[in-house]
Assembly symmetry: C2
Homo-oligomer: 192 residues x 2
């Protein structure tokens, strides 16, 4: 109760998060996770019935922390267009902090072609949350609903395209190009 009170479960999840992202899911063994987390194997299997369950927890964790950190980053930005644009900046910062390893969710489905239902759900959940995030903002920025929807789709495509190209080049430049394109689109829209 005095300090942080990091539970064993939390410790496992943090270690798994680091290793899954940095080394890859298939290249990270259960034994390595328990060694680096400093817990017993039975403890891991007590909290997570299988490696796949641990993976699902990892994906949900990533989804939540990414969005809450984004909200913090945007806390003083009110204008919807600016919120969209600054989200691209945040994405670049976040990717750099993670050594340009790319999107955790995309990586997982790239590693597991025959993914299970739970993993499918977790990945699609994140993508839908991101899609809705952009859609809400374009609807605020643009009265025409149909135009807002198509604009949001384009922005989301540029967002994912920028992310994956940053992974390839290990460089934030593609996301900056994507941001430029988005700025252009949002201005176009205003001028019309």
């Amino acid at each position: 109760m005095e300090t942080q009170e990091i539970t064993v479960r939390e410790h496992i999840l943090q270690t798994a998060t680091r290793l899954f992202h940095d080394q890859g899911y298939n290249l990270t063994g259960i034994n390595q996770i328990i060694d680096e987390a400093g817990v017993a194997k039975a403890s891991l299997y007590y909290h997570f019935p299988s490696k796949e369950d641990l993976c699902v927890a990892y994906l949900h964790r990533r989804n939540n922390t990414w969005f809450s950190a984004l909200e913090t980053y945007l806390k003083d930005v009110d204008d919807p267009k600016q919120r969209i644009i600054k989200t691209f900046d945040y994405r670049a910062i976040h990717l750099k902090k993670n050594h340009f390893g790319g999107c955790s969710h995309i990586k997982i489905i790239s590693e597991m072609p025959q993914r299970g239902e739970k993993i499918d759900q977790a990945v699609i959940l994140q993508k839908e949350k991101q899609r809705k995030f952009f859609l809400d903002l374009t609807e605020q920025a643009e009265g025409n609903r149909k135009k807002a929807a198509s604009l949001a789709e384009t922005i989301f495509l540029l967002f994912d395209g920028g992310t994956v190209q940053c992974q390839v080049y290990r460089d934030p430049a593609p996301l900056q190009a994507a941001k430029k394109a988005v700025v252009s689109l949002l201005n176009e829209d205003g001028k019309k």
Copy 2:
């Protein structure tokens, strides 16, 4: 000499190509490749010194076959704008044929966070070839070189974004949305 004359090396490469893409690189063992190809293990290691070398050959093969099939698909299309647009159609067809497994190159780097130099080179080579492909076409379609360059970047981002989202949803819709955005961009350009 009578029929196709598929060499052993070719047989290995074809089997590896199918398995790497459908199952993933790390989940495909050397033993499975030789079993399904019907060759001896020593034959595989005779032609490919290591699994990584086989991977590099696989990436180059994918790169070449994708581009030559694209050229065939576009053989009757002359207008540069139409060539760009039809490339998105071709991408969707190609992804569907490969069960929406996504881009082979992106998948490989997602599976191997600490990839070697040869693999890095192969992936970047493909990306640069695609980038140049779009750049050549935008330069033909648009006199202003600077505008053409930025247009090509945006198109390329939409291309990769559409590809990765198709992988997530196992559906061609995102690439169709990307195509729509590109059509819009190319028309904008014409109107200005």
